[in-house]
């Protein structure tokens, strides 16, 4: 039973996001749950003359490793993985979880150790991405586990996922190019600003962005996409932020996170639920207490919170702030094994100021600015 929307998704990922060309070595990474999409991707990569290299995870292996492995086993970096990131020309990674909370029972410190051990792998991968040597996109496949997080039926969730990727439109790629142009203009304008202040209930946060680059995200590295982001000045972040939405991360959930920053560092952190995990993540390394990314979610086709960061951080009318690693292309310098996106809804009772001037209200940039 082929779902034609899957074919459209595969088309966009192969021809638009990664632009596969003859001779490309293409990593296709997912889980067995996404097999229907994987087959469509595989077919299109072969059709484009590429060499697909399939990397499929085994359900349950992460939990076994983190709960039963020795420290040495947890920190072991598979040389095959390093070689993948060294050699591949393109990578299409598709998240497809059978249980988004499967790691809730493991020791967060061991989980942090796992991430820290893989930092060099991630850095090399980002380095090659930046140099244009590795074109990489992260996407997701609708599973019942994700539908459950979204509190939807699978059918409703599928409709949500495909709508978020503009795959219900006649020409999805044209729609992504159009959004890309709009976000490009917004980014250019934001690049001229020095300071952003976000005010909403429970939140009054100021970030310095002078000299930093804002990046428009148009479906090349995330799919779906739709955000503009930068790396804030490392010691500039001041104030308090309450994250509206629960944050799903590393196979568990943390609810009601409130952070207070001073001199760019988190000096106070609490959560209604999952606070020990939050603390463990903040203690992962020196960079984990700083904001590595600040972004505006700009995808108007994503309206609802679904508990999946890939979608939640793009909700039109939200901002997100990531603890940890910044993307060097934004000018951010923060290094960390952590990169944890936390989302704040600004669609009601909210204002954003740029260099003291009101530029955004209740989830939208003021139209008169553009």
């Amino acid at each position: 039973m082929a779902d034609s929307r899957l074919g459209h998704l595969a088309d966009v990922l192969v021809s638009y996001s990664t632009g596969i060309e003859p001779g490309d070595i293409v990593l296709l990474e997912t889980t067995p749950l996404a097999a229907p999409l994987l087959r469509e991707l595989y077919r299109r990569v072969v059709g484009a003359g590429g060499h697909p290299q399939v990397r499929i995870g085994l359900d349950g292996a992460a939990e076994v490793l983190l709960s039963q492995g020795s420290d040495e086993q947890i920190q072991w970096v598979n040389p095959m993985r390093s070689e993948d990131f060294e050699r591949a020309d393109a990578r299409i990674a598709v998240e497809a979880s059978s249980n988004t909370r499967e790691l809730t029972g493991v020791d967060p410190a061991r989980q942090a150790g796992y991430s820290v051990a893989r930092e060099s792998l991630r850095e090399r991968y980002l380095e090659r991405s930046r140099a244009g040597e590795l074109r990489s996109v992260v996407s997701a496949y609708p599973t019942t586990a994700s539908a459950q997080d979204a509190e939807m039926s699978l059918q409703e969730y599928e409709a949500f996922v495909y709508r978020a990727g503009f795959l219900d439109r006649d020409d999805p790629v044209a729609a992504w190019r159009e959004l890309g142009e709009r976000l490009g203009r917004l980014s250019a304008w934001l690049c001229e600003r020095r300071e952003i202040r976000v005010v909403t209930e429970g939140t009054d946060l100021t970030l310095g962005v002078a000299g930093r680059t804002w990046i428009p995200c148009d479906g090349k590295e995330n799919f779906p996409d739709g955000e503009v982001f930068t790396g804030p000045e490392e010691s500039s972040v001041e104030g308090r932020v309450s994250f509206t939405y629960p944050a799903t991360f590393g196979g568990r959930i943390v609810r009601g996170i409130v952070l207070r920053f001073e001199g760019g560092e988190v000096v106070e952190a609490r959560a209604d639920d999952g606070e020990p995990f939050l603390r463990e993540m903040l203690a992962m390394d020196d960079g984990a207490r700083r904001a590595g990314e600040f972004a505006f979610g700009m995808n108007e086709a994503i309206r609802e919170f679904t508990g999946h960061t890939l979608y939640d951080e793009k909700i039109g009318g939200t901002v997100h702030l990531a603890l940890g690693m910044s993307y060097p292309e934004s000018g951010g310098l923060n290094r960390s094994a952590l990169h944890w996106d936390l989302v704040c809804d600004l669609r009601s009772g909210s204002e954003v100021y740029a260099d003291g001037e009101l530029v955004y209200r209740n989830g939208e940039f003021l139209p008169e600015l553009f």
Binding site: P32, A35, A61, Q73, M80, E83
Partner: protein, 383 residues
């Protein structure tokens, strides 16, 4: 997935077959449908101090490559695969399928070219195994597709598979160590034989084995296992053989194969069904008409034909004689793109003579292996 037999199968493979040691990298090749065994292997390898990683396959990808790939894509061996085969210390392969006939309709020529290119990897793997640089074991996780081929329910097929592996017992490693000792003695006994004569219904075949080394297949490379085999002298096979069981190659079934050999080569061949396919394989290359292997199947827990060579070639009381590539470690010299195991049931009226002396009748060696009457093979039979 709480079947304790799955856990024991994983343990026997990690501890006995592969002997995974600390810091050894174990790749676990498994199709999605074999996930329970893959996870059990992963767990067992971690417990042994190894660095395991799974590589999971899903249905339908190879078919796309074979149907739609360019010649260049079919022949492509990625540098990632080359690196991997040089790097791993151990490999566990789970052969399970959800549809054993999914490739029945792909172009055989294209499939052969794909396999030809991939052979660079398998050849290198065998080189490293022979040099003692890595270990390998192939096994099977029971699925409905294999049960269907065996004409059994899944539950009965599971009993069959786990019984053949002796993982329905508490200490399968101990069992396989006993089997290994027994098979080694059997192989030693056969070492002095110059010529085997196999006599059965429509079968009277002489196979020269002088100077060849007999190898005990004792559960290290396959699980289950249980055979002794060698590669015959290339020019001495003479006479006729009729294979009672269907001969299966890459999902194609050829029924009632009859071959006539002269001076080591097949000079006449016929089959009741699949005659054309038989001929196309015989004409594959210079070595495809010559025997590459002769073997005694000695796993008496495997008592029926199930259309899966992992089990069929070990059926207690059968012999198999494979056309095509020989085993260098047995002293065999024949090379071919083909290695086609065909099985001859000798349980009813079969006899085997070694240099004129009757050594095997109705599927059993007449004498226990000479050196030790402690009958570990009998122990294996009792299960």
């Amino acid at each position: 997935m709480n079947d304790p037999r799955v856990v024991r199968l994983a343990q026997v493979i990690v501890e006995y077959s592969l002997e995974v040691r600390e810091r050894q990298i174990l790749r676990i090749d498994a199709p999605d449908v074999a996930a329970p065994l893959a996870l059990a292997l992963y767990r067992a390898a971690l417990a042994a101090g190894g660095f395991p990683y799974p590589t999971i396959a899903v249905d339908g990808l190879l078919e796309i490559l074979l149907d739609e790939g360019s010649e260049e894509q079919l022949a492509f061996v990625s540098p990632l695969q080359r690196h991997e085969i040089e790097t791993i210390d151990a490999l566990a392969t789970i052969w399970s399928e959800t549809n054993t006939r999914s490739l029945s309709r792909v172009d055989p020529g294209r499939h052969a070219r794909f396999l030809g290119a991939q052979r660079q990897l398998s050849n290198r793997r065998w080189e490293r195994i022979s040099a003692g640089e890595m270990s390998w074991c192939g096994t099977l996780f029971p699925t409905n597709a294999h049960a269907q081929d065996a004409e059994m329910s899944l539950a009965r097929y599971e009993d069959f598979v786990y019984g053949a592996c002796h993982v329905d017992e508490n200490d399968p490693s101990a069992h396989w160590r006993l089997v290994a000792a027994s098979l080694r003695r059997r192989a030693d006994d056969l070492e002095s034989v110059r010529e085997l004569r196999i006599v059965g219904p429509d079968t009277d075949l002489v196979v020269g084995v002088e100077g060849r080394k007999w190898i005990a297949a004792d559960g290290r490379f396959n699980m289950p296992d249980g055979e002794v085999f060698t590669s015959p002298v290339e020019t001495e096979t003479e006479g006729e053989i009729r294979y009672t069981f269907p001969a299966i190659y890459h999902g194609h079934e050829v029924e009632d194969v009859r071959l006539r050999f002269e001076a080591g080569r097949v000079v006449a061949a016929e089959a009741a069904r699949g005659d054309d396919y038989l001929r196309s394989l015989l004409d594959m290359d210079e070595g495809s008409r010559v025997l590459g292997e002769v073997a005694f199947g000695l796993n008496y827990e495997i008592d029926r034909f199930t259309r899966n060579i992992l089990f069929d070639e070990k059926i207690g009381g059968t012999m198999h004689l494979a056309l095509g590539s020989a085993f260098p470690q047995a002293g065999g010299a024949n090379t071919s793109g083909l290695h086609w195991d065909m099985i001859c049931d000798l349980r009813a009226g079969g006899e085997v003579y070694a240099d004129g002396e009757l050594i095997w009748k109705a599927g059993r060696f007449l004498a226990e292996a000479v050196t030790d009457p402690a009958e570990p093979v009998e122990a294996a039979e009792r299960g």
